[in-house]
């Protein structure tokens, strides 16, 4: 993409309403625009990051055998009366009437509707286990939406639901999803700590929150120091071993009962980016969901698995930035390469830039080419702000010596290399 033909509205000033770094950088980098309290437009750069997160989440789920569906944002309220949550959810659930005076709600989560789909079609135990998921916009009418998309009202969520004939099988799937979630967060460049948590309004027998550590996190978490070792690369554990490590959310951590010695316990702030629940029969009892088994009716056991997709974009920035801006992990970066032409109009610079741009574009490497008349200092600052993992800086003096500058956003390291070497490195 050539910047001259793109829509990247960077802000010079730090918006005063933004209290946390991800919110500030998302506004300054032209990723989002607030349209109402907790309701955002995603501008081109932000949408590319959001899409990348969504694709990684979907890819790992598909590999794990989950099957994707899409439920509508608006739903009739009848299903929620059936499950008993129509009254339980209160004002966070946005309800209103359509022109025919029928009550609708904007989906805050979809247990009821997925069960409605399930019972319409699945009659036999032979179709189980089944794990269906969707990625779609939800609405929760928070009293105090804040921190940008970190705690928005309209937000993109992955919600998955599994169906089983036995509680043991539901537990097996729960453990599998626990591992899948770790894979997802790892691919997103994050270390998430799965803490035992209260299952709240969703309910069920067992639940884990996946917390990304960050000073601005809203949750207090307690965990085995070995999670730090895993993050720092000193330790590698299997899914089963990780599941054995102690970690608990604030409300479940009782110091006197903590099973690990105090010197091994760490305490930090976390951002909740995922939550898995072993539901058991909470909903299937309320809604009377059976399948026919080999010896008659079997009550269905369930699990449910959520990931905050739009929140993850902010969480990644909280976990990976410096004073100059965002440092995207390569997997999520809206553009992997930023190409800076220091002297547009100069024949050699134009030629080298076009070669780099066309070569990488042909190989489908996402590249943003700053071909504008902005001064070099401004171009450097913008590229650092939007955080492309790699920068290629092309100037007339370097080209006289047949070199361009290749800069790693993460380390700040700059190398003078030939155009061919730069391309080889990025395509390697």
């Amino acid at each position: 993409m050539r910047l001259s033909q793109y829509f990247l509205p960077l802000l010079k000033e730090t918006p005063s309403e933004a209290q946390i770094v991800s919110h500030r950088y998302m506004l300054r980098a032209g990723m989002i625009k607030q349209q109402a309290a907790g309701i955002y437009s995603w501008l081109p750069l932000g949408l590319r990051a959001l899409d990348n997160v969504e694709k990684i989440v979907a890819d790992e789920l598909e590999k794990a055998g989950c099957v994707r569906v899409l439920m509508p944002t608006l739903q009739p309220t009848e299903l929620w009366k059936e499950s008993g949550r129509y009254d339980a959810l209160g004002k966070e659930m946005l309800r209103f009437k359509d022109r025919a005076d029928r009550e609708l709600l904007y989906s805050p989560t979809c247990e009821e509707m997925i069960i409605d789909i399930f019972r319409s079609y699945v009659k036999s135990y032979k179709a189980l286990p089944l794990n269906l998921y969707q990625i779609n916009w939800k609405f929760r009418d928070e009293v105090r939406p804040r921190f940008g998309v970190m705690r928005g009202r309209e937000f993109l969520m992955k919600d998955g639901y599994s169906f089983h004939t036995t509680l043991d099988d539901a537990k097996r799937e729960y453990s599998k999803m626990y591992d899948v979630y770790h894979n997802i967060f790892k691919r997103l460049g994050l270390t998430a700590i799965a803490v035992s948590a209260d299952s709240g309004a969703i309910g069920g027998n067992l639940s884990h929150e996946f917390q990304v550590l960050a000073e601005t996190g809203e949750s207090q978490v307690y965990y085995d120091q070995r999670f730090d070792d895993i993050r720092d690369g000193k330790l590698s554990l299997s899914g089963e071993e990780m599941r054995g490590l102690y970690a608990a959310a604030d409300e479940l951590h009782v110091p006197e009962k903590c099973p690990i010695p105090k010197e091994n316990l760490r305490e930090a702030r976390g951002i909740e980016v995922g939550h898995i629940f072993l539901l058991g029969r909470k909903y299937t009892d309320a809604m009377g969901i059976d399948v026919t088994g080999p010896e008659g009716a079997v009550r269905v056991e369930m699990g449910t698995y959520g990931i905050g997709v739009s929140r993850l974009v902010a969480a990644i920035i909280e976990a990976s930035h410096d004073d100059n801006g965002i440092i995207w992990p390569e997997s999520v970066a809206p553009f992997r390469v930023g190409l800076i032409n220091l002297r547009p109009g100069d024949v050699n610079c134009e030629e080298a830039c076009n070669l780099i741009y066309n070569t990488l574009t042909a190989k489908e490497v996402p590249i943003l080419y700053d071909d504008t008349d902005e001064r070099p200092g401004g171009k450097f600052a913008s590229m650092d702000l939007i955080g492309t993992p790699w920068q290629i800086i092309v100037g007339p003096k370097g080209l006289e010596r047949n070199v361009v500058e290749l800069k790693s956003r993460k380390t700040g390291e700059k190398q003078e290399v030939s155009v061919e070497s730069a391309l080889a490195k990025l395509l390697g």
Copy 2:
């Protein structure tokens, strides 16, 4: 995908509420499920088709230099009061209050919000022209939602908006989008006729509707017979030549003033799948949108361009089906290949099927492998119903002669070929 691990709830009976063929087949093929009047869940098979349509639409727009954004489904009503459409749109626009008693609406279209984004960031004529688009769910509270996703209330729409400093430049972009739309519909396997149309509630100076001909269409269209020749492959015209052909919607066709002789005029029913509008200054006057030009303020000229993405899935089925089910164009097919194992459990059949399945999966050819215990007749009927363009039928008798059957869903033609030839043909 192995059918035994998929969620494909086919219906044996034709649902009585479905009046048109696309609605019947979408229900029978397990593509959608109604959740309320005009509100649908997209089941796995339907969602794959919807995604494919969306990708083609996005791909052609990106190639044409359009830049993607995403606006929220819920919007504050203030912007609509500014443009004057808060009152104009009536009950089709769903409005309600949040917990803080602020009025919100579910976006039926986004002229106001995209202008709000534009005016927040774009100050100079140098940033123009600019063409921004999104693909997102909209809601229109139709009095009589019907025909499945053809006329739903919650529907997926591509809406694009362009900004210009002169009306001439807006006209140039309008013509460009006219051609891009023809490319999009062609890639979707459709021939769309662009008819001069009334610009209705959107407004503006000039508009064209893109109509796909189908008996069940809700619009009456009049057009130059040469459109039929283009569809039948007898004639090939440039974008400019096509733009010169006569075609008009019912309300704009005046027989006495029709510029082409009666014998060249055709009359048919059409499904509206796209609509482009040369808006001019309708909205920018109402909302006072200027940019600074070389000689002072310039009022911005606009165009707007819509495509009914979810409706297109139904329109494609209306245009391409037979008595046995859907006939997907390859570009849109949820699965390109259906693999039928006539005797699961037979070693040779399993081995051949696994080879075919693994080879095509490794090459990213979307394939649905019917590995279930269903009887052959049922498997044939199901595969015809869901309309995979190619079927590979593997049975023990054929394998004795080293052949499988390769069937084209469109022509019905069957060939006995070796596994290697079948693979070569599908990968070729």
